[in-house]
Amino acid sequence: MFYVNKLRDICYRNDFYLSLLLTKDMAGSWLGAHIDGVLLHAGDVRAPADVFGDIYQVFLILGTLVGVVVIAYTLYNSYKYRAQDGAAPESVDRPSLGELPTSGGGGRKLFLSFSISAIIVLSLIGWTYTTLLYVENEPAQHEDRMDVDVVGHRFSWEFVYPNGHSATGTLRVPKNELVQLHLTSNDVFHNFGVPELRVKADAIPGQTTTAWFVGKETGEYAAHCYELCGSGHSYMDATVVVMERDAYREWYNTTSGGNETEAVKP
């Protein structure tokens, strides 16, 4: 029952089916109106963390189900058709040494089960594809988003704010703000990820990648490097601090184009 509810929940909260039927604007305004009349800030946005959570759960449930059924069926067959001593003579045609290989029967069953598995896989992927489009396109819908540059160094993270302020080791962001990261690297290939906020992207020298998140709860979130970058890789962490909007604004006003280094682990 829990699963059924969960599934329904996901379907309801999913604006992507809608966007398939309606144009983007219509879907947007419908949803906005539906939630609380006007979109005030990004607190109502379905952040990547929510998207991931839902999909992961569905995959986990279905994946476990399929895995258990298929493995159980395999074991059942191998046990059921085990060779038994003194079994009655049988009428089955067995392969013999030196014959040219041919097919055993059972093609119909093969195609049936294949089709079922194909349908499961394709519909799952079709569904997640709509969420991919959402994740890729959403930041552009938010002109009031906050843009931060993230630069990987061996072995620390540097954050550059819109006003040019640069800080190493800590990224501060206001609560309920859509934060778009623009990542690159100063030396080798890194990967910046904040597991709890479900945001991750490669930091590649010479290239810029993007990723976004919304911090809906204040607090500190750990960030790590997810691409081997040398001897200090294991320690290449940072902290993302989600602050109350007022507190953030206050802090931000004290900054200017300067540098700041907060405690980084050794």
Partner: protein, 851 residues
Amino acid sequence: MSSHEHGLPPKSSISRWFLTTNHKDVGILYIVTALFFLVFGGVLALLFRIELWEPGAQVLSELSYNQSVSAHGLLMVFWFISPFAFGFANYVVPLQMGAEDLAFPRLNALSYWLYLFSGLLFGVSFFQGSTFAGGWTMYAPLNVPAYIPDGALGATTAVLALVMFVASVTVSSVNFLTTMYRMRAEGLRMRDLPIFSVSILLTVWMMLFAFAALLAALMILSADHIIGTKYFVYQITQSGAVTRTVGNEAASLLWAHLFWFFGHPEVYIVFFPALGVMAETFQTFAGRRLVGRKWFILSMVLVALQSFMVWMHHMFLTNINLTIKTVFMATTIGISLPFDLMMFSLIYTLIKGKVRFKTPFLFTLGSVILFIVGGITGVFLGAVVLDYQFRGTYWVVAHFHYVMVGGATALFGGLYYWYPKMTGKMYDEFLGKVNFAMYFVGFNLLYFPMFVAWETPRRVFEYEAGLTVWHQIATIGGLLLGASFLVMFYNLFVSLWRGADAGDTPWEYATSAEWAVSSPPPMDNFPGLPSYRDGSLSFLSESAVAARLRGDGTASTDGGDPTADGGVATGTALDTATETHLETEDVEHADHASIWPFAVGLGAFLTMLGLSGVQQGTIVGTEYAALLGVGGVVTFGSLVAMTREPFHAPEAALAERFPYADVEKLKLGMWVFLASDVVLFGAFIGSHAFIRVAHGWREWHNLIPAEHVTMPGLINTYLLLTSSFLVVLAMVAAKKGSRRGTVLSLVGTLALGIGFLVNKALEWQHLFHVHSEAFPQGWDLSTNVASSTFYLTTGLHGAHVAVGLVICAYMTIRAWNGAYQGDPDAIEYFGLYWHFVDIVWLFLFPLFYIL
């Protein structure tokens, strides 16, 4: 029966194993060597599993940890799993298809020695300061010297070891393809090959192309190390400050593309032989034929083709665009579907079976279960939004171990399955089952917790304290898995003496031909010429073959009319084969011992080791220079000796050769090699194009001095075109029997080729020393990325020209002594190569001189 040993010492003699070219011996060498590298890689793994017992670095230093992780991955993926599978391929495939040996037995031995020595070379890299520590995926620019602490010697050696390994793979691919297309028993069509052979055939196809792309990547990387080109670095940073930029925005992405273009096919290259073993053992131990065999094979073919179109699913978090992400998501999911079909086919094969739970079957059944888990978790990764989070975590680690080591599980089943055939002895069944139980439990204890603890970043020793217990379970599982191999080795070793006699066919319901001969099979494999003409295997006596050839010669091909005129071909394949067979009746048991493959391998080892001492264009020590010199002499001398050594590998009088019946085996071998060379050059040219697109196609000109003009290129085009034309004339002259014409044309080719190289040398000298405002220091290999791509790509081509010239010189001398008259095959095959080099230039000329 010593004549049947082809001049080889007995197996008990050590020298036998250095001299052998027999496919069964080579197979055993591969298997034993691969198991050695399994232990090597496994010990490293246990080392870092112990390190992971608790968060933080306790046992290993940071750099040692990175080295262990990287070396473990490289050893397992390259030096263990594929070579292990190819041990079976070597041993079993010729038997299954009814061939006496591979098409080129000495090349087969050469593949083995290159493989062994490449692995030893990798081992040496540990003692040169430190070995490569940038992960088995070797991402750029962490893989270039600028970012490798304390000198890159060991890393360079590791890269060169990989180059050597790829050389081995390429030789082997050419050999297997030629064999499988030209040496099947009469009546055995391609579609009739036993399923293990089918899996190997498709594996080899993928290897041929995928490894050529890897070779390109590795050659470029070696050049970045050794001669200082700048392909894989965007900017060089020292303690935070950028000290150098080279205009190469695409550096990191280029490596990712090249590596994964190889890397994804590689995962199927690793997995297909396992799939073959699964299907083979399921049939045998269930006593059923494979359900939907045709569809099973079709699925494999689809996967093999499509495997070249999914690579960017490893790059979803880079800045590739949404369109391409969509395409690669679709192809990734598409490629998982044929696997569903294959798994169901295996499962349904059990139905109505008489399943016997012998050790080989236990392993392959276990393997199917592991693969199901691995496949399902792979679909998670195929959903891009999920992959965004799984990337770089233990989810990926767990997934690929379930599929890859899951595949290896089937290969261990294969080891138990074919052990009685290879040794004539039965292993101990009880110990086999103990082995399996420990293995399977150990495996799941090791890898399943990684799914639970998936939030752990990959390749770190510092992880969240809350996950410690899962990592401890994994470590315990790792130790158990390791211990299971002690049981396996003990069992297999002791059974060599104590095992019961296995007999020809220890497994009821086995069908393929290896079970129809004694265990182990005799040197020549079969008691007569194998034939399936009557629908099942029979062995034809010499007189029956002769009668068949006299009576109805056409029975032997399904590849069209064998007497049709093959154009310029010098006679039909059947005629040639018959002739060789009858002519060589008495030399058929000729000497099949050769030390030269070993010597070439040794020489290559020394050369590569010497080369690792060249860093950024300067040699770091005289010992390296000496190694380089000695190695070069040994390699070249052995190659010449090998060419001059009389060695005859006759083709059977009757064989199935579709669709290459009219292409003589050496010619087919040459074409297969050229196809892989197409990919090598394609990847070089593609790299250039990619870098240029990333930089801005037309802004590229700013990286090139005005002194770089069209004329030298045009002159070289003329020279090369003319030389190609002369090779054609040489062939025509030889066919007509004009010695004078042949020699003159070959000398002309030689002269023009040398002219080409001289012209190029002059041009390079000039460019190295330009003094312009934009390039005050000249324009050399490391000036910027445009100079790097120019020198390296045309340099690779120049190296091809140089190799061609050496062969051409050799042939000129032989022609002078009267060779080739009326028999221009050798000239023709050399021509194929030379014209190919010409064709490559036809594209390099506009790309590097005009556009």
